[in-house]
């Protein structure tokens, strides 16, 4: 801690940051553009000019850029200095020379950093009397709109896209006042994080294209804190709604997880909520046709179905804890299935067990960025946990930070650190079957079959700790590689091993855990991270239940009369034959879901559940963090939360059934959570993931609209012009309207949007943070159920079942899931913009094996004719098939037969 003097006021601050940060943290409104907390300083825009004095006796001082000047002991500066002010106003004026002044039609309007800064500097009169230059805009694909004339050339977009996210198809062209930020030619931005340009760009050059179709001003939308449902990382989001429809998803800062950035799947996947596939009324199958029926009829129908016999409940790793738990309460533990196959369930449970037992650290996504040696073992994290992949990309820069430290260059001096680090080695090792988006920053990559990667992993563990079992008959260069990686990991201060269940391989996860365990003996900071498939995989694993196979057995035995399936498309877990058998063996299938999945179409009764934006609930991320998402949209009845449907079912049954009494009297989410805490004590802390519905700030609920929101009658005018009371939300501490409390100090879990006059853009976040890039003023958000720092006293035994080497077979290939950023994840594929980004399925083959044309792959559900694509480096005997896209249930490796197309046999 130290203190600096700003315009005569002494402000406590910290060393190691720059003066811009220090000013902002001190509450000053110092304008800036090119600086970004995650991207550091480059001093390009010159907007943050202040006057710095060399000491108390210096009356002249000199103009410096705050973002380029480190805080030092006894710094004396002036923001108010007339010359500095004048210069800052000039900077805006220069930027405005070519800016189109199209705020009324610009989608950034009202949340535009440039608008804020313009007002802040007081620039209000145009003195440039010549013509503006104009640029041509580009079509950048389904996610991002481009309007280059609004550009002020702060260079943030390319710094983020290229330097930070590793993209290479966005660049700066030309020079002087003609600089152009775009692509060489029109075309879809390829980087997985392109959507962040929308928030990174301080003006309206890059805007959210899907949002544009249903655009509303920031001040006219309701906001709610939310959690991404498109993978298990648990990125925090803000959802915005108007006229009871979800309009967009924005990043919500979480210090430990996503911080300032989301992946495109997370940002644009929400389209499923408003898609035509949305279910809005109960549906009853009558004579093979599904027809809409009223809610009361639906519940009566269920009561009739259930009258006869046993109800079995199938939950889902993509459903909230509360929904899963309500089903558990309805059917009882003996009839509660997790909705996963035995194999899937074993994998998640193993992951949970390995993480729980890990003697080292369980680093957060943010902590991963500072890992100085990282081993990715058999998981394409860029596809399965994209935001995690972005953090690993940053970890590759650790050596350059150390070089900068040695040269006494602050780490936030971005360009300087990159210059110094030009030749610094990366500490990232990527061992995967197929190429990944991290390969370009890896010290080394190795392509091998999952079993061979697991073997390498065990060999690395043995290298580190001879007590770990040795791998016999390892090829010489594999042994050398294992030794090299082991050496790098041992030498690191914060090593990290990342694996996951993409390839459904317990051996891979065991091997990863063995390495991390071996490292933890000498390095307590040794981290382990395991990627899980769904947003609540971990929560469900902690609840436990039957596997789908067990349900199948019971069904075959005729022991089930009704299956209640919540938010689960079984066709993604079971091969078609099994689904068919299950459907045939169970008289009535009730599906509660928000989206018309293939399973829904075969159900006897379908009940419309609310999507994540329309209800509140809790998800447990792969690192064991329970997080609450909140309702932004109040859907028309009968759409309601999954757990309310289950409760309604329970109420339609004989209410005297003893185990159901609790369930039927729940009033709100807090009731569900307290029942959950009693039933599952290890999940009890999840109650505290966010304040309950009774939370009040200054005696008030929290508002979820801005003070500026347009009139209430107008908001519902699409229904009725009569004044309506704003909808009530019993599950949350939010008022659904502009009434209520709001402010930078409110609990972090309840921040529904950032606005702190005069900051109207997302940059207002700096007002909500205790330290920029550090904790929120409103405290922790979410709660970790697995302890952060492992149990160093625990001495887990090493796994000993080392797989045999992968054998190339003459007549079959090992088909591996090609998990895709767009295409493999279930819900986002109902989102039109994401669908548009999913490329057609193809069969990936080793470059040597790939003939042109198409081939036939024989999977469980029959032959699939697929175009063939060579995959560089893919090992012999392996084929890549997109997960879920070819055969819905195909998600784990299997051996399969591959044939040349009969009619294309002659071609080569």
């Amino acid at each position: 801690m130290t203190s600096i003097r700003i315009d005569g006021r002494d402000c406590p601050t910290r060393t190691g940051i720059n003066l811009l940060q220090a000013c902002l943290e001190a509450g000053a409104s110092l304008p800036y553009f090119c600086w970004h907390p995650e991207l550091g300083s480059v001093g390009a825009c010159r907007q943050c000019a202040i006057r710095q004095f060399s000491g108390p006796d210096d009356t002249k001082g000199r103009i410096v850029m705050a973002c380029m000047t480190p805080v030092s002991e006894n710094t004396i500066i002036s923001i108010d200095d007339p010359e500095a002010r004048d210069f800052r106003a000039s900077i805006i004026e220069w930027m405005m020379v070519n800016h189109p002044h199209d705020c009324p039609v610009c989608e950034e309007g009202g949340e535009c950093h440039l608008q804020d800064m313009t007002v802040m500097t007081g620039h209000d009169t145009r003195r440039y009397r010549f013509t503006k230059r104009t640029h041509r805009n580009q079509d950048l694909g389904p996610f991002v709109k481009h309007e280059m004339n609004r550009c002020i050339a702060c260079y943030r977009c390319v710094r983020f896209y290229r330097d930070y996210a590793g993209g290479d198809d966005l660049a700066v062209f030309a020079s002087h006042d003609n600089v152009y930020f775009g692509r060489a030619e029109d075309g879809t931005l390829q980087n997985a994080f392109s959507g962040n340009l929308v928030e990174i760009c301080p003006t309206g050059v890059f805007t959210d294209k899907p949002f544009s179709a249903t655009y509303a001003r920031k001040w006219d939308m309701r906001g709610a804190p939310s959690v991404c449902v498109h993978c298990a990382v648990g990125c925090n989001t803000i959802v915005n709604a108007r006229e009871e429809t979800l309009r967009r998803v924005l990043n919500r800062y979480h210090e430990d997880i996503n911080r300032y950035l989301l992946c495109d799947r997370g940002r644009f996947g929400h389209g499923f909520v408003n898609a035509p596939t949305r279910i809005r009324t109960p549906l009853r199958a009558i004579d093979g046709q599904q027809a809409a029926i009223p809610m009361t009829d639906a519940l009566q129908a269920f009561a009739r179905m259930a009258a006869g016999g046993r109800i079995v409940g199938i939950a889902s790793p993509r459903a909230a804890l509360e929904t899963c738990f309500s089903l558990h309460a309805l059917v009882g533990p003996q009839h509660f299935c997790t909705g996963q196959t035995r194999h899937e369930q074993e994998c998640v449970e193993l992951a949970h067990a390995l993480l729980t037992r890990h003697p080292g650290a369980l680093p957060t996504i943010h902590e991963m960025e500072s890992a100085d040696a990282v081993l990715v073992l058999g998981e394409d994290v860029c596809a399965t946990a994209p935001r995690l992949g972005l953090s690993l990309r940053q970890s590759a820069r650790q050596a350059s930070f150390h070089t900068a430290d040695d040269a006494r260059v602050p780490r936030w001096m971005d360009a300087a650190v990159r210059t110094l680090g030009a030749q610094c080695p990366s500490g990232l090792y990527v061992l995967t079957p197929a190429p990944t988006d991290l390969d370009d920053v890896a010290a080394q990559t190795r392509r091998a079959a999952p079993d061979d990667i697991a073997r390498l992993g065990f060999a690395i563990a043995h290298e580190i700790d001879p007590a770990a079992p040795a791998v016999t008959d390892l090829a010489a260069d594999d042994a050398r590689l294992a030794a090299r990686i082991a050496h790098a990991l041992v030498a690191a201060g914060k090593p990290l091993v990342v694996s996951g269940m993409q390839y459904g391989s317990p051996a891979l996860m065991q091997a990863a855990a063995s390495i991390a365990t071996a490292l933890a003996r000498a390095t307590p900071a040794a981290g382990l991270s395991l990627v899980l498939p769904e947003c609540n995989s971990m929560g469900l694993a902690m609840m436990g239940g039957l596997s789908l196979e067990t349900v199948m057995e019971q069904a075959r035995a005729g022991a089930i009369s009704v299956l209640v399936i919540v938010e689960n498309d079984l066709t993604r877990h079971l091969p078609p034959a099994d689904v068919a058998e299950l459907l045939a063996a169970v008289p009535d299938i009730v599906v509660i879901d928000h989206t018309a999945t293939p399973l829904c179409r075969q159900a006897s009764l379908v009940l419309p559940a609310s999507a994540f934006s329309e209800c509140s609930g809790t998800l447990v991320s792969q690192e064991g963090r329970a997080q609450r998402f909140f309702q932004a949209v109040f859907p028309p009845a009968p759409i309601q939360a999954g757990w309310r449907w289950v409760q309604a079912l329970a109420r339609s049954l004989d209410p005297s059934a003893p185990h159901m009494t609790g369930l039927t009297v729940w009033r709100d989410l807090d009731d569900v959570l307290s029942a959950l805490a009693q039933a599952f004590p290890h999940l009890a802390p999840a109650v505290r993931a966010a304040p309950g519905a009774d939370y009040r700030m200054n005696g008030q609920k929290l508002r979820s609209q801005t003070y500026r929101a347009s009139g209430r009658t107008v908001i519902r005018s699409f229904v009725n012009v009569r004044d309506q009371p704003p909808p009530r939300s019993p599950d949350t501490p939010f008022s659904s309207s502009m009434e209520g409390a709001y402010g930078p100090d409110m609990p972090a879990a309840l921040v529904s949007g950032y606005q702190a006059s005069p900051w109207n853009s997302v940059q207002a976040l700096n007002r909500f943070q205790h330290e920029i890039g550090g904790p929120m003023r409103g405290g922790e958000c979410g709660i970790r159920l697995l302890s952060r720092v492992g149990h160093s006293d625990a001495k887990p035994a090493y796994a000993t079942d080392i797989p045999r080497p992968h054998l190339v077979q003459a007549d079959t290939v090992l088909v591996l899931p090609d998990t895709r950023l767009f295409g493999s994840e279930e819900l986002s594929m109902f989102s039109p913009s994401v669908m548009a980004r999913a490329t057609a399925p193809a069969l990936g083959l080793p470059a040597g094996m790939a003939a042109t044309g198409r081939m036939v792959l024989h999977l469980d559900d029959g032959p699939h004719m697929l175009p063939v694509e060579p995959v560089p480096g893919l090992p012999e005997g392996i084929a890549l098939c997109p997960a879920h896209m070819v055969a819905r249930a195909f998600r784990f490796p299997r051996m399969a037969r591959l044939e040349r197309m009969p009619d294309e046999g002659g071609r080569s």
Partner: protein, 163 residues
Amino acid sequence: MLTAEAPLSTPVRAEILALAAQEPHPRGASVAALRLVQARLGWISTVHLREVADLLGMSVDDLDGIATYFNLLFRRPVGRHVVMLCDSVSCWIMGREPLCAHMCRTLGIRPGETTADNAITLLPTVCIGHCDHAPAMLVDGTLHGDVDTATLDRLIDTLRDTP
């Protein structure tokens, strides 16, 4: 034959790879490689830009960002001969404006354009370090000083006649 659309010849590709191999990172050779292509074809077509990007392991966007940054790299076709007339201060004082106007009239083009017969492209250039012989110009890379309308006319005639 080498054209703007046909792929680069094997020797040119080999030369580019050799340039790249001399650098700590292949991108260090980007300007040299683009100059090489331009030396052969007069300009850098998108086809060739792509090819060079490939050889250097860069994205075409990245490389085009460089190609469009530098004054001497041409991303549009030029005529058989390129006349670069200095437009900096000493030449301006010594009368480059009337010379330029004369040349434009004679050729029927404006600065930055190519004659209809594709013989000559006229470009302005910044100071070429021949200020003691201003006005100065570069014709296909060769320096000419103390230029006047008479020398210009002679030069234009010769250029029109040489392939």
